[in-house]
């Protein structure tokens, strides 16, 4: 039996190779995901460990939760002395860590791939993880050093005289005195890291008399734990102390949690799609070959093979293919990891990555997944092979007996489809948590694909007639033959097309969903913002509050709003955005969609005790006008507000809207994330915009000044980048399904050798032969494309309906979908290249001899 399996694989090398590809790529995605996320985790581990290698304890502010706007809240500098006074502390030193960007000439140096731009104060050499490489570290006011990676990337020279730092008090010229590495690394994930003196950091970044961390080392003989305990005893409320190891671990865990909570499952989901497509192809390939080997199965049955042995021979072949493909996939995973990293880089999510390490977990997962998927996909065809009777050996043209349950497959597929649709609806409507909802939706999507795949063969004929019509009209007989070939085995064509359908379906889905997202966002801006300019940084991080002075002192500005969107926790309600506005001009600058009898008059009544809430929060938290609720910030400050009214805006002002004064009372940092500027009536808009832009460039170069249209365009551009990433990740599945088409065509051609010979004998040219194959491929691909786009539309529509509350609409990007169809045609042409060549190479004579 083993010999038989080995022979089978060797005899069908091309098919085996093509089939393997389906699994190789999926497994490579799985392995690549693990390899990549391990690399990233390791890199962060290294960074945090070396960062803390010379200290024993770290004091920082206790936080309720992590905040994007307020990553390192400050504490009084006096804590440094409090700690220094603790018995057993050898050294205590404060540090300010904040965000600020380097400016060289007129250019703001941005971090790579959305990494933060970190400004951090220098500390004594005894505890300093940073080591000067060129020049030295800053010692005197006005001196800075930059991390090696940035110096290299931006070609900075020590002593260069056009370097400045964008600070909270405006752009400050600085002297570049050195470059450094941080611990052992010369780059922290592409982040711009600038070292300054503590005094400069405090002065420039609104931290007078404050530090963000206090580092301590222990006297000889005192353990880290002991030291931390002693320090804890003297710390004021609201501060915490960790040992250096705990601190490093906590930071790594944070990152690891984010990676394993988001990045890994997201990438694995794409790997899952690839494997799903691969399973379709393996199923299809084995279905075809089992059908082609009916006589062979009959023959081994006459020689005394049992059904079990027939089963073993088919499953065994799949097992061998699965193992080989998984091993190759594991190796290819290294390449995939590298590729994904580059991909993230290219669209602006730079991630640090340590050296490649293939953990046992990666190996086990890759091999297991590959083998299990392959074998599982083959069970169906293998069972059918066992139903071949011995008599088939002697029957001319014996065909595969239908499966025992074949009568029920359409009903079963229909049922699966219905259950899938029901799950989609349930996942969106049942108010599940995000993770469960995603799992339910994912399962629903899989079932919809399976159901449609199972039913597809009933619509292959009409679809092929429709798609083939223009081809037949243009190409005549070759087109007719192609269409006839595509429909002669509808199950085969359906399965081949279904593999493509999955990839196209998901691509269409994200494209349509993204179009809805763009429309809802730009629509919200048009509706809500009455201003003429929008100010923000390229990373959406806060910019200095002082920038508002520039706007307000510019001639031609009627009103401006500088908005903060800190995350807060509410009781009831959970995590929410606390939108802060200036009530004096809010009615001019914003157009709120008031509910019930709320109106612009409410702005004036807000004070520091009133709040306006978005309808989603009102519904989910059961809040109504007149109710009171409590808000807690990341720094642990709390305040209660009275609901004055409700508005609907699920896109821009979700959650709670209060005055800036109320936020100040909560100790929320004053730096805004977005500015909205309204011009005077009759002002020369272009001139005002130009002046604000020029003045921002001079003092606050990180602030981007954009018209509403430019801002919307930028947002759309960001969505497009994200789309490009998703397309790239889905491309693997599409490539796999192309191989599926290639494989099915090659097998069909093999099976039709004699026919092709006849066609050639009676005057079909090679070119015509290729065209016949190509058109069949196009028809198959377009069937997959049409089904996929249909499913994509369905998914996007269902999701848009489910997310209506979040303001997400449904928009059909017709142009994009047409492009997808054209690409399906191109895919068909590409998939046909090799099979068409094989078909054309068949000599009429070979074909006639063929049995």
């Amino acid at each position: 039996m083993l010999r038989l399996i080995a022979r089978g694989i060797l005899a069908r090398k091309l098919r085996t190779a093509l089939t393997s590809v389906a699994i190789v790529l999926g497994v490579a995605m799985v392995a690549g995901t693990f390899i990549l996320t391990d690399q990233i985790n390791n890199a962060f581990d290294d960074i945090f460990e070396t960062g803390n290698s010379k200290i024993d304890a770290v004091v920082s502010r206790q936080t309720e939760f992590d905040s994007f706007e307020d990553p390192s809240p400050p504490m009084p500098e006096s804590v440094v002395d409090d700690v220094a006074g603790v018995d057993g502390v050898a050294l205590s030193e404060g540090q300010v860590s904040t965000q600020g960007q380097l400016v060289v000439g007129d250019d703001v140096i941005s971090s790579q791939g959305g990494a933060p731009a970190i400004v951090v104060s220098n500390v004594s050499p005894e505890i300093n993880p940073s080591v000067a490489l060129e020049g030295r570290l800053p010692e005197n006011p006005g001196e800075v050093a930059v991390i090696k990676d940035v110096a290299d990337r931006e070609d900075l020279q020590v002593g260069q005289d056009d370097v400045a730092l964008a600070t909270a008090v405006g752009t400050r010229p600085v002297e570049l005195v050195g470059t450094f590495r941080y611990g052992d690394v010369e780059s922290i994930g592409g982040a711009t890291v600038v070292l300054v003196t503590l005094g400069d950091a405090q002065r420039w970044f609104d931290r007078e008399g404050q530090v963000t961390n206090v580092f301590a080392t222990a006297d000889a003989g005192i353990s880290e734990n002991d030291l931390a305990n002693r320090i804890r005893a003297v710390l004021p409320a609201g501060l915490e102390v960790e040992t250096a190891a705990e601190n490093a671990q906590a930071q790594s865990d944070d990152i690891a949690g984010e990676i394993s909570g988001f990045l890994t499952p997201a990438l694995l989901a794409f790997a899952g799609v690839a494997l799903f497509v691969g399973a379709f192809i393996i199923f299809n390939t084995f279905s075809i070959t089992v059908a082609q080997r009916v006589r062979e199965f009959g023959m081994i049955r006459t020689l005394g093979a049992t059904r079990g042995q027939v089963m073993t021979s088919v499953v065994g072949e799949a097992l061998v293919i699965g193992v080989i493909a998984s091993v190759v996939g594991l190796l290819a995973g290294v390449g995939i990891a590298w590729g994904i990293l580059r991909l993230f880089d290219a669209i602006g999510f730079g991630l640090p990555a340590a050296g490649i390490e293939v953990r046992p977990r990666t190996i086990v997962a890759a091999l297991l997944v590959g083998v299990v998927v392959t074998v599982a996909a083959v069970v169906g065809p293998a069972l059918r092979a066992t139903r071949v009777p011995p008599i088939a050996a002697v029957q001319e043209g014996a065909t595969l007996p239908p499966g025992r349950f074949s009568r029920f497959t359409p009903y079963l597929a229909g049922l699966v489809l219905v259950v899938g649709l029901a799950l989609l609806v349930y996942g969106l409507a049942a108010g599940l948590g995000a993770t469960e909802a995603l799992q339910v939706l994912g399962l629903g999507a899989v079932l919809v694909f399976l159901g449609v795949g199972g039913l597809a063969r009933f619509i292959v004929r009409p679809l092929a007639r429709f798609i083939g019509a223009p081809i037949e009209a243009l190409a005549g007989t070759t087109g007719h033959l192609a269409r006839a070939n595509a429909t002669r085995n509808t199950a085969r064509t359906a399965a081949t097309a279904a593999a493509l359908m999955i990839g196209v379906g998901l691509v269409a889905f994200v494209a349509i969903f993204a179009a809805g997202l763009k429309d809802s966002f730009t629509g919200a801006i048009d509706r809500t913002l009455q201003g003429d300019l929008i100010l923000q940084t390229d990373t959406f991080s806060p910019f200095p509050a002082a920038a508002s002075g520039v706007v307000d002192s510019t001639e031609g500005v009627a009103a401006s709003q500088f908005l903060r969107f800190p995350e807060v926790r509410t009781e009831p309600g959970g995590s929410q955005f606390l939108n802060t506005i200036d009530p004096t001009t809010a009615a001019q600058v914003f157009d709120f969609d008031w509910q019930d009898d709320a109106s612009d008059a409410l702005f004036a009544q807000l004070g520091t005790d009133g709040a306006l809430i978005e309808t989603n929060l009102a519904d989910s938290a059961g809040l109504a006008t007149g109710d009171r609720f409590t808000v807690t910030t990341n720094r642990g400050e709390s305040a209660s507000f009275t609901v004055l009214g409700e508005y609907r805006d699920p896109v821009l002002f979700t959650g709670i809207t209060v005055t800036g004064a109320a936020a100040d009372g909560l100790d929320i940092p004053g730096d805004p994330s977005v500015g909205v500027v309204l011009f005077d009536e009759g002002a020369d808009g272009d001139a005002v915009k130009q002046e604000i832009t020029d003045r921002m460039d001079a003092d606050f170069p990180t602030v981007q000044v954009q018209s509403n249209a430019e801002f919307k365009e930028e947002f759309e551009g960001q969505i497009d980048q994200l789309l490009a990433l998703l397309y790239a990740l889905l491309a693997i599945s599409l490539i796999i399904s192309l191989f599926g088409i290639v494989n099915a065509l090659v097998l069909s051609i093999y099976e039709r050798t004699r026919e092709i010979g006849m066609l050639r004998a009676i005057g079909t040219t090679r070119r015509q032969m290729r065209a016949i194959v190509r058109y069949e491929s196009i028809i198959t691909a377009v069937i997959g494309g049409v089904l996929g786009i249909g499913i994509g539309i369905l998914f996007a529509w269902v999701l848009a309906r489910g997310l209506e509350d979040q303001g997400i609409g449904f928009t059909l990007p017709v142009g994009t979908l047409v492009v997808f169809l054209v690409l399906a045609i191109v895919a068909g042409v590409l998939a046909a290249v090799l099979p068409a060549r094989r078909a054309a190479k068949l000599k009429p004579l070979d074909a006639l001899h063929f049995e």
């Binding site: 005057g763 079909t764 000599k843």
Partner: protein, 255 residues
Amino acid sequence: MTSPTPPSPDGAAPRDGLAVSARDVTKRYGSGDAKVDALRGVSVDFPRGQFAAVMGPSGSGKSTLMNILAGLDTPTSGSVMIDGTEITTLKDRQLTMLRREKVGFVFQFFNLLPMLTAEENLELPMSIAGRKIDPEWEKELVGAVGLDDRRRHRPSELSGGQQQRVALARGLISRPAVLFADEPTGNLDSATSEEMLRLLRRSVDEFGQTIVMVTHDGRAAASADRVLFLRDGEIVEDHGHLEADAIYDVVKSLE
């Protein structure tokens, strides 16, 4: 009545008026120890309107000869002309064009396309060549092979004999200079075979068709105007019309 020497037509004689003409055709498969000389210098002419049968023991080279004459295979040496065109030097495309114009085929396995109707199958040589079908001729052919009421049927809905009749009509639809048939009755029962042979005979008599037919069946060969015998890659006997009994005698003598 035996003419033991293979006819060796005068090389210098004009070869027009001939549907097919072969000169000193050899075919060698493989090399070294494994080499097989399937044809060892065959020269033969088929005048227009002749119905020739090629016979011989299994492995004698019948199919090889026919394939070479039809331009489906290339000889190791020698020359082949179809309707005055030397074909051994033609490229694949030119050969394909020549087959479209001048050659028809009937195969042992009927080789119809299962997804096309009988009518579409029979029109295939014309439609694939992008040539106009002469409706009169098609009607006559369909009538002659008796498939008037089966035009819209698919091959799977036709009997073996009916399928082979479609194949014959397909072979004739382009009015080829020569129709090659390799064991066209090999897969048919005797009654259907006879029907088939009557049709072949009729196409020669009524339409002046040239036919070269390879067969193992003496009764099939008996409907031909000429019977050739091959052995070990050479033409060993070349007769005019022979009755079945006489053919069996020759076959016996060759074994």
